[in-house]
């Protein structure tokens, strides 16, 4: 029965094939997502939060934890916390306090982190997400709380950049004290084999929500949003929750999905072998796609939490909370529903557009005057293919909503045919100018000068006297040959339908 096999990756542990694992175990996941808030200054002092400055230049006595320095809460950060809580349909606390989480580490200037512990600003909410096939899924949110980030350690001299084997470490305190919101889900049960997909969809939906709220850029690659992924297995959905592992700092949607899959396979192998899963934190390795053991968590972990005596309790007034609620922008789920209705897309079309990440660009294109159908056709078709071929995001192409709307307008007005429009787009992508400029430069305009067209038709008829005869005799389909000749003569710049009408008209046949 055991199907444990050693993975190819170095340092990996025995694994069970994913499908086998999920056939025999129920998967339970939980996600803790840290988000750096996009405030101008830090959580407890006036230091700047701008990304990428010289190390240790964006610090103050407070964020360096110098003797005597005291924290003062950043009101904008609290407001962002309230905004996130409301968007997740949480209850906003009427009174809440910060606590000190005490532990020694060089990147923690005070050797305690000021964090909301048992009194979060927001609790008991949820986020509705949609899986790739359109299945809706509600993820329950236990809490969202405010805290401060740590500094950033760089370990120098080791082979892996990790502390093990390093000969010294550098610490940059620019990040220390940047406001964070940690959003913690309740255990996600019932997803079974789809748990990795749910995890990914949740993190993606959360990212979209945070951006829509304007509280964070939430760039995972810059560490502005970091997911800790909890996974546990149990023999059946009725069994008590199994021992979980916490894979820290997973930094892309895809990695979130992979990390869950990996842990399911790994834990299944441990359980199959009669072992028990260790409660521990694990490191995610992006390159090899595996997790490795980090620090064992045990009851000996004691952060000696107590209420932060340097701060007074926060009591966000109900008036303030309602003011924030009233200022919430349209949230992603509601926006999708509205746009689908406005645009008349089918569920399938909408799902494809969302999955391809085209919602914003289509919306902008429609705003520039294109029809929703045309916008979807161009972005989801030709441009998606081009982006795919170039291996870039569709938004990174040198064509924007304005150009696509212009192109759609040219087709709509009959100035270019669909086939010609593709050639125009090629020119725009090649940097030859706007669609209109490319039409002119390449001479791609539909010939609509009737006299030139009539001359061309007459010339073609004269060259094919037998065709005129056949048409007059009732064989209308014979006109095709003359239409083809005219199109060839005009290098495709004529409207074929109109050419056909002219041919019949000039011959004086039954259709005329």
């Amino acid at each position: 029965m055991s199907t444990a096999t050693a993975p190819a990756a170095t340092g990996g542990e025995p694994l069970v094939a994913y499908d086998d694992a999920t056939a025999r175990y129920d998967v339970v996941i939980g996600l803790e997502v840290h988000v750096e808030l996009g405030t101008a200054t830090k959580m407890f002092d006036g230091s700047s939060t701008a990304f990428g400055a010289e190390p240790n230049t964006q610090v103050s006595p407070v964020s360096l934890g110098l003797p005597g320095a005291l924290p003062v809460v950043n009101r904008t950060a609290v407001e962002h916390g309230i905004r996130i809580g409301l968007a997740l349909d949480c209850t906003i606390a009427e009174m809440c306090r910060f606590a000190r989480k005490n532990y020694f580490y060089p990147d923690m200037p005070k050797n305690f982190q000021t964090s909301q512990y048992d009194e979060p600003i927001a609790a008991d909410g949820h986020l509705d997400v949609v899986l790739e096939d359109g299945t809706p899924w509600r993820v329950e949110v236990e809490r969202a709380h405010l805290e401060e980030d740590t500094g950033k350690s760089t370990h120098v001299g080791g082979a892996t950049g990790r502390i093990h084997g390093a000969d010294h470490s550098l610490v940059d305190y620019n990040r220390a004290g940047i406001p964070l919101v940690e959003i913690v889900t309740r255990p996600v049960t019932g997803a079974g084999a789809r748990a990795p997909e749910v995890a990914r969809a949740y993190v993606a939906a959360l990212r979209d929500l945070l951006r829509a709220l304007g509280v964070s850029e939430a760039r995972m690659e810059q560490g502005q949003m970091r997911a800790d992924v909890n996974v546990s297995l149990r023999p059946s959905p009725d069994a008590p929750l199994g021992t979980r592992t916490e894979t820290k700092n997973v930094n892309s949607f895809r990695s979130v999905e992979r990390a869950v899959r990996y842990e399911v396979s790994r834990q299944a192998a441990v359980l199959d072998a009669g072992g028990s899963v260790l409660q521990e934190t694990r490191h995610w390795h992006e390159d090899t796609g595996i997790t490795t053991s980090g620090r064992v968590k045990s009851d000996a972990d004691d952060y000696r939490y107590f209420p932060e005596p340097d701060l007074v309790p926060m009591t966000p007034s109900r008036a303030w909370v309602e003011e924030v609620r009233a200022s919430l922008p349209e949230l992603p789920v509601a926006r999708r529903a509205r746009l689908q209705a406005e645009w008349g897309y089918s569920d399938l079309e909408m799902r494809d557009v969302v999955n391809a990440g085209l919602l914003d660009v289509i919306s902008a294109t429609v705003a520039q005057g294109a029809s929703p159908a045309a916008a979807r056709k161009w972005w989801g078709g030709e441009l998606a293919r081009t982006a795919n071929a170039r291996e870039v995001e569709v938004t990174a192409l040198p064509v924007g909503p304005a150009e696509v709307a212009e192109l759609a307008g040219l087709v709509e007005s009959g100035r270019v045919t669909d086939r010609m429009a593709r050639e125009v787009l090629e020119g725009v992508l090649a940097g030859e100018g706007t669609p209109t400029e490319v039409v002119t430069a390449r001479g791609l305009e539909v010939v609509s000068d009737e006299s030139a067209l009539v001359t061309a038709v007459d010339e073609a008829l004269a060259a094919n006297p037998d065709v005129a005869e056949k048409i007059r005799g009732g064989k209308v389909q014979a006109a095709g040959a003359v239409v083809g000749a005219v199109m060839k003569a005009t290098r495709g710049a004529a409207d074929a339908k109109r050419v056909r009408e002219l041919v019949l008209e000039r011959v004086g046949g039954p259709q005329a």
């Binding site: 006595p61 360096l64 934890g65 110098l66 003797p67 005597g68 320095a69 005291l70 924290p71 003062v72 809460v73 000190r100 005490n102 020694f104 580490y105 060089p106 200037p109 005070k110 050797n111 305690f112 470490s169 610490v171 009851d299 004691d302 000696r304 939490y305 107590f306 005596p309 340097d310 701060l311 007074v312």
Partner: protein, 529 residues
Amino acid sequence: MSPSADRSSGPQTGADELVRASAADLARRLAAGEVSSEDVVRAHLDRIAAVDGAPGDGRGVAAYLHVSGEEALAAARDVDARRAAGEQLHALAGVPVAVKDVVVTRGTPTTAGSKILEGWVPPYDATLVERLRAAGMPLLGKTNMDEFAMGSSTEHSAYGPSRNPWDTARTPGGSGGGSAAAVAAFEAPLAVGTDTGGSIRQPAAVTGSVGVKPTYGGISRYGLIAMASSLDQAGPCARSVLDAALLHEVMGGHDPRDATSLPDPVGPLAEAARSRDVRGMRVGVVRELTGEGFSSEVMASFRSALDLLADAGAEVVEVSCPTFAHALDAYYLVMPSEASSNLARFDGMRFGLRVEPSEGPVTAERVMAATRGAGFGPEVKRRIILGTYALSAGYYDAYYGSAQKVRTLVQRDFAAAHEQADVLVSPTAPTTAFPLGSRLDDPLAMYAADIATIPANLAGVPGMSLPSGLAADGLPVGFQVMAPARADERLYRLGGALEALLEDRWGGPLLASAPALDTVPARPEVATA
């Protein structure tokens, strides 16, 4: 007779007369142009050179850990120049001040009495120091203290104890013994202290000076090296109630950098100190702070001061605060708990002492351990261990949680007592100054020195100590006044009135009767100033 002739014709030398003058008097004479700030500062530096010695040299008052003579003279000359130019200056401009070494001072070494900060020069000023500088008050130096303000005798200073100017074989109290001794020995007209469980008031009591712990939040804590955040409070040390009020007014008022700072502006404290009227004032004697554990001599001095107040028209009543019996226990849970966390930042990573382990790998964790092992003294370690234990999972509710409940009860006792009395009074300390070394091996006896001062810290209410006289051993006794939160002016009203009544009886300030101090060799930086 002209004022200058009057000054020079006295029995004392000009310099000696300047150091014995009150801050209020110096301020008036500076404003009138009768004396320069440079002269005042120089007189104090001379006095420091004559009597202070240095901590650890076995002689002298040892009130200062660091004397910043050149900086003080430069600041004095700056004030003198601005005054000469006709600039409008603060009332205390040119009056020098000493600052307890637990308060950070930009560019001036700040150690908190600990080896772990030896040589550290802060890059910023505490808010209260900014306010002193803005007022044009030259900083004479940093005063000695128990390490991280943990102690009641300054004997826990890593640099050696301060000595009591009344008897240099005795302690000047603690933790702010340096600030109290500096004013009592005429080495500074004013000094800044901090009071977590009595560290301003108890030293004031045993040195015959005045010390005030304001309402919690009344003076910014920004830049005070924290021991226990919810208890720490800076305040003035002086030789008179009025002088304390003047210094309190300079430092007090809201600070946006301290989230626990009160929004109130500082009240009219000097006015209260000058009012000298206690008629109809209800004075509540706290029964629990006037019985067991308080020496009979201390009690006699206290009762005699009460009689003066009653004769002056105050209504003396007895009040009971039964939960004060648990205050010391609660304090020794809350204070070490917060201290254990506040002192975590002293780890050798960013500032101060750094010690690498003598053998084995040099990892961050091992450097932290070696640094803290070498840098902290035994009393600090004791409190860190106590606090770490009290906050541990499974013990939190029983210890820290219960202690916080006791604080609430202590607050209720204060509130109930204040229904009967406008101010509450007690002796400040159970005994007069104790001999150096007598309690070092008995932490509980040392802790008991703060039995009467701790309740005010737990409740966040203001307290003052002023001298009520000398005991039979010839040593000063302190009289404590406490008031409701934000009613600090009541301390000054009662204190100012009582001081005037007592000085009438004594024929002048109590400190004028302190014995003369031996001249000792000066420390190098003072000798050259």
